[in-house]
Symmetry: C2
Subunit: 274 residues, 2 copies
């Protein structure tokens, strides 16, 4: 069983109600990597017998730190229409909400389609790039093979790496990323990958600060067939911020397939302390 599938595994208690458990492989500085919490909440929808279609949007609110241990996960369809379905999900520990989420799933029909955003140009073959060193980074980074072209995470101050760098005037990153070990892409793994970019303030200020994502939204531009076509290949990803102000900044990212189709776009607001 792939470590991601272990981490998002759900033991059904009743319709829409599941028991889950945090996974040591995806540990972050405090509690689990947020991407796995997102994937867990989405998985509760994917597993639900009443689910209609594929995920279109997912918003996760990280309400409190998730403690290592058991999590009660619930998903309920709030409204089901002819081709769309609206979901509310929550994760609780000791009867307190630690994360909650909304999602829309829908049956897609074939229509006029067009791209507008363009993928990053001139990205070299990922196999010609070095895998990011995870030595001084949180445990969950070992669950991804990340190959940065731009904007790798700065070394830990006082750690084995270099000292703090100079502040940059941007926070742009561009990388190839896939699950490690490789795993065929699906909606849950894609939702986790959408949170796998380092906080933009680390890149902008070239140092690590206390941060926490408070809310994250992911839009799925791909359907099941497109994700299946991607398989275990590397995804091409970019991330940047628009604004950092008084304790909060945003992060916006795009995830492209190996053949340069936009699979997901994702946004989050992040708390920071300086």
């Amino acid at each position: 069983m792939h470590p991601l599938d272990t981490a998002i595994s759900l033991d059904q208690l009743s319709k829409g109600s599941y028991r889950a458990h945090t996974s040591a492989a995806y540990a972050n500085m405090v509690g689990p990597f947020g991407g796995v919490t997102s994937a867990l909440l989405l998985n509760a929808v994917m597993r639900h017998e009443d689910k209609l279609g594929d995920p279109i949007s997912l918003t996760v609110n990280f309400a409190a730190p998730v403690a290592d241990g058991e999590i009660l996960v619930e998903a309920q369809p709030v409204r089901t229409n002819r081709s769309t379905q609206h979901w509310l999900m929550q994760a609780t520990q000791n009867d307190e909400v630690v994360a909650f989420a909304t999602a829309v799933t829908a049956v897609r029909r074939e229509t006029w389609s067009a791209h507008e955003a363009l993928p990053p140009r001139d990205a070299p073959d990922p196999l010609t790039l070095a895998r990011m060193d995870t030595t001084d980074k949180p445990v969950w980074t070992q669950c991804y093979d990340m190959r940065y072209m731009d904007g790798d995470m700065p070394a830990q101050p006082g750690g084995a790496g270099e000292p703090d760098g100079e502040e940059q005037n941007h926070s742009y990153s561009c990388l190839w990323v896939r699950d490690e070990p490789p795993r065929p892409l699906d909606f849950v793994s894609l939702s986790a990958i959408c949170d796998s970019y380092f906080p933009r303030i680390f890149i902008r200020r070239q140092r690590r600060l206390p941060i926490g994502t408070i809310s994250m939204t992911t839009y799925f531009h791909a359907d099941t067939a497109m994700l299946s076509a991607q398989g275990e290949q590397f995804l091409l990803a970019t991330a940047k911020a628009l604004n950092f102000r008084n304790g909060y900044f945003d992060q916006t990212a795009e995830v492209w397939s190996a053949d340069r189709q936009l699979l997901a776009s994702t946004h989050q607001m992040v708390y920071f302390r300086d």
Copy 2:
């Protein structure tokens, strides 16, 4: 009383529970303009006596068409931390959910701050531009003074305007916008303005199609003081899409103050039929 304040007015039934009513001034093709539904749900938080701080993020799911008439609006704090608070809101008609939302409010502290996104350059003084003609457009557009520099809504096919234009290779719009009549900016009016851009597919394809926003997220980069400083001045706004595929497209927009500070960034997924 300003028409927006009438449209989002809440008659408190009990703590966090309110009765509201749709407003003819903000009528859309079917039901009310989605921006006013967003503002109504956010207003239920703003009015709540337990609210902590200012809005940071807001996600609204448009679950079903809102019928003209009475709406029951509820807001509850799901989790309150030291400086952040997570909210769940819903709007129901005849005991069925028509819209639901999550929000985060927070007490901001002064920190290192920086911008990364840049406002559109060379925007002429709004008073030198013509106000958009609302003749063949939904009623709610009369509640805004919109002055387009790029990407105005195409004329209605077969209407008084020109025939369908040629499809464009982008959906970018840039405009000045404010409430009409003028109203001092606050979080609720800003949340409505974040939905006031015409659907990107209208711009891209240069014709109007059946569409409906399914989920919309707004990030507030400004605090109360910044919004107060803006007052009744025009806001500078841009909108674009990343991708249109099989029934859904995204829209991403930025709202800038008259003095070129980023006040909000906003994203939505929109259903379309062709």
